[in-house]
Symmetry: C2
């Protein structure tokens, strides 16, 4: 069981990435405080071919030393946009045909393990501030809410981990739908 | 769609957590450099009821200010052990009946989306150093290797994100197997 060297991984170049077909997934960061978390979301979004990231309110934007430290350059591959308010981001994404979904603990939310994307849908996933979560007024604007089920003592996941879990789970489900479509 | 307050989440107390049935999953950290990453793995492991964490080599151990900052107290709920070498941790876990699995990019590794745990198996999941990954000599000791498929320009996920993705995916599959067993 030989480990594969970085050179053998045949990863995309930045140009390849820009041209590549992306998953129909957008990420919205609603007032995320930590630039390290923002950078980490860029790195994950690069790996999973996420279409774009909307950085809202106090969320830091590239170029930023702290973002770079955890994004490792992925801030130059994944498309991003800045919005002064999260409301504007939601409105813009909805106009582009996205189903807008808050990742939040909400009455009546769908558990991530049970959530199945509509075939051929485009999903915009909103992750909230480290302390306050997704703002209630933004939750009110959403089409759906998804919750990652938790069984321990803590109230929430770290936001970069939460984004990793949700983006992995949904991009995996979408990829399997695409494979079924072509079979 | 009303957000649920922390008080309404009815999370476990530390005592409840200690008594609770855990998932048959152990985490092994093979010379992880960043205490922030270690703390984040504790926080995720608390949320997903992971049985224990083996901290190996240079990996920091609680009590530690940096671990606490990202674990938010989960270092006091999830069981952990320290091993001077990762070999010793692997040996100990194998004696306890765990199937030992490196999360690593390896020739012939199984893609996470295709991996199905054997029913009633106990899995020990090894995550490696931020730069070097899981050591080749540790990979050689493993029963299996799992890889998170990646499609972008970067060579790897952040280790805390990687642990979040793998622990979510496998604990979810194990929970569904348990539900089928009881139905």
């Amino acid at each position: 069981m030989r480990k594969i060297n970085n050179d053998e991984l045949s990863r995309l170049t930045v140009d390849d990435f820009k041209q590549a077909d992306k998953m129909p997934l957008a990420v919205v960061l609603d007032h995320v405080r930590s630039s390290n978390n923002v950078g980490s979301v860029f790195r994950t979004s690069d790996a999973l071919l996420i279409r774009k990231i909307c950085l809202c309110g106090i969320t830091a934007t590239p170029p930023d030393k702290e973002i770079h430290k955890t994004a490792l350059g992925a801030e130059n591959t994944v498309d991003w946009e800045y919005f002064k308010t999260t409301e504007e981001a939601v409105e813009s994404l909805r106009n582009e045909g996205y189903t807008v979904i808050a990742i939040e603990q909400v009455e009546g939310s769908i558990s991530l393990d049970k959530y199945l994307p509509e075939p051929e849908s485009k999903l915009a996933l909103i992750f909230g501030n480290e302390v306050k979560g997704v703002q209630q007024k933004i939750v009110n604007q959403c089409d759906q809410t998804i919750e990652i089920p938790q069984f321990g003592t803590k109230h929430s996941f770290n936001i970069a981990v939460s984004a990793g879990i949700v983006l992995w789970d949904l991009s995996n489900k979408l990829r399997q739908q695409q494979l079924q479509f072509f079979c």
